[in-house]
């Protein structure tokens, strides 16, 4: 009974979490549409950049989400490595967050490149910020490749945690590269970190702020989805493994009883005739099927099938 209660509590919590995710997703969609509308139609063009300034409402928020994603990934990696909070959930969170981080790193590079072409006259330049961001992209691609390696979940989690720590070394370098080296890319100027003053026109400021909110909501939505998927994948793997073990066990018992039946029917001296004839007799004449249906096994495969359906 208590097991059942626990199960219903878990499924209730999961339903609530899914509902919350959907709400965040809807809010993200609304705010993204609002950002696009404000950015393209309401805000004025810039004095120097003209219409190009409209990329301002997208590019910095995307880069911001990139940092948030890697930050979440790093924190959950630390939580996983810390023995007292070691839990595979943190490993899955780190993986999910890095996936979203890689996506947004790619988007940062693309949107920056689109902005760079008309303003700097080139799609790409070997500027410290751009170079370190590109490195970040491939480093976390490597981390995701590392996560794909087969293996025991705990071993895999530990392995990826070490990989994640090494990859994170580059994140502060990216952040400070604008300040450390004299870079083509400008330092953050909208909100001066030293004085806290803003240098931006009213409606532009609000649109930019909305952009940050919209992309952060999008990040939360994607993170929740990927996190859930990672969990389902783990459950699916565990169930398939269990299923395979059950099958082997049943095969073993079927074989064993077939053997016993045969021995009781023909006596042990038939064994001397040869394995082939023995197996033939055992297979054809004994009543026991090789793969008997078994309720627990069926349950397992149905659950595994369901989860497989959800993953796809």
């Amino acid at each position: 009974m208590s097991e059942e209660n626990r199960m219903t509590a878990v499924s209730l919590r999961e339903k609530r979490a899914q509902k919350a995710t959907t709400v965040v997703g809807i809010l993200a969609a609304i705010s993204l549409v609002a950002t696009v509308w404000l950015g393209l139609f309401i805000t004025p063009p810039d004095e120097f950049m003209g219409n190009l300034v409209r990329l301002l409402y997208i590019h910095p928020p995307i880069a911001w989400v990139m940092f948030i994603a890697y930050g979440v990934s790093f924190l959950s990696t630390l939580l996983y490595l810390w023995p007292r909070t070691r839990d595979l959930r943190f490993d899955r969170l780190a993986g999910a967050s890095s996936e979203v981080g890689v996506l947004f790193t790619g988007l940062t590079l693309i949107s920056g490149s689109i902005w760079g072409r008309p303003t700097w006259g080139t799609w790409w330049t070997w500027d410290p910020l751009l170079t370190t961001t590109a490195l970040l992209f491939v480093m976390y691609l490597g981390y995701l490749a590392l996560r794909q390696l087969p293996g025991d979940p705990d071993v895999r989690a530990k392995r990826s945690a070490v990989g994640g720590l090494i990859a994170f070394i580059d994140v502060p370098i990216v952040y400070f590269s604008v300040l450390w080296w004299k870079s083509l890319h400008q330092a953050p100027t909208v909100l001066d970190p030293t004085t806290g003053k803003t240098y931006i026109h009213g409606s532009m400021a609000y649109t930019l702020l909305l952009g940050f909110v919209a992309f952060t909501l999008l990040f939360i939505y994607l993170l929740a989805k990927r996190y859930r998927l990672a969990g389902l994948k783990d459950v699916y793997e565990r169930l398939s493994l269990q299923e395979a073990i059950e099958e082997r066990k049943l095969e073993a018992t079927a074989g064993q009883s077939a053997y016993e039946n045969a021995v009781s029917a023909y006596g042990p001296k038939d064994e001397l005739v040869g394995q082939n004839s023995f197996l033939e007799k055992a297979g054809s004449e004994s009543e026991i099927p090789l793969y008997p249906s078994h309720s627990s096994q069926n349950n397992l495969s149905i659950r595994a099938q369901n989860i497989r359906g959800e993953i796809i």
């Binding site: 491939v138 480093m139 490749a145 590392l146 390696l149 071993v155 392995r159 070490v162």
Partner: protein
């Protein structure tokens, strides 16, 4: 820890002395890379020969890029050195023996990194000589070049051993290791190249910042390896 490190280092170097795989395969590979860079970038301009005593301009590009090409060749060879270092451990379940040996994991890490360091140092001296002869690399401030090389080699071997251990459990280790190794080593490659360029041009002051960066990276990687190697070996 230090005794264990020394034992492991001795073991790896003994194997290398007996098998000579690094000497016979990895170092020649580095030479091939150096030659290929020369073929790809250096161009032979016959018109420059006709002017007697005129400078051979084709060496100019190679000479300017020599520090970067040298470190690129070192990095490419290092990844093979790392693979070799862990090929030793995958043969005959040596990895399990290592795990059961009750040696300190940090010691194992330091020992393997130390052996790799020695091998890479030999490799670098050979490749540096080649770069001097083939690319016309001239080192004005030798101590700066030496310091940059030492620190970069420490970082290379530390990261190499961490990722070598990470990848060695995987079936796809040959393809996975370069993907993991090169991006992580890129900051080291950059700083080493910049420091060596400063050593070539003869401006020690501009190279010092890169020496500091290299030192920070080496320390980070060593600390990470010492802390995490135990859990990497457990699998």
């Amino acid at each position: 820890m230090w005794r264990d490190a020394f034992l492991i280092m001795q073991k790896d170097l003994n194997i290398e002395l007996k098998s000579k795989v690094v000497f016979n395969q990895v170092i020649p590979f580095g030479l091939v890379v150096i030659l290929l860079f020369g073929l790809a970038i250096g161009k032979f301009d016959s018109s420059s020969l006709s002017t007697v005593g005129g400078n051979l301009s084709d060496a100019g590009l190679l000479k300017d890029a020599s520090a970067g090409l040298f470190w690129m060749a070192v990095t490419l060879s290092a990844v093979i050195g790392v693979q070799r270092s862990f090929a030793i451990e995958t043969q005959d379940q040596a990895r399990d023996a290592l795990r059961l040996s009750a040696l300190d994991p940090a010691g194992i890490f330091l020992g393997k990194a130390g052996a790799l360091l020695v091998e890479l140092a030999v490799l670098e001296s050979v490749l540096a000589l080649c770069a001097i002869f083939l690319f016309g690399m001239q080192i004005a401030v030798f101590w700066l070049f030496l310091a940059a090389s030492c620190l970069a080699t420490i970082a290379l071997s530390a990261v190499g051993v961490i990722y070598g251990a990470l990848a060695s459990g995987a079936r796809t280790r040959e393809t996975l290791l370069p993907l993991l190794f090169f991006p992580v080593i890129a900051p080291v490659l950059l700083s080493a190249t910049k420091a060596c360029e400063a050593a070539i041009v003869g401006q020690p002051s501009s190279g010092m910042i890169w020496i500091e960066v290299l030192a920070v990276f080496s320390l980070c990687y060593i600390a990470l390896g010492v802390a995490a190697f135990g859990s990497l070996l457990e699998e």
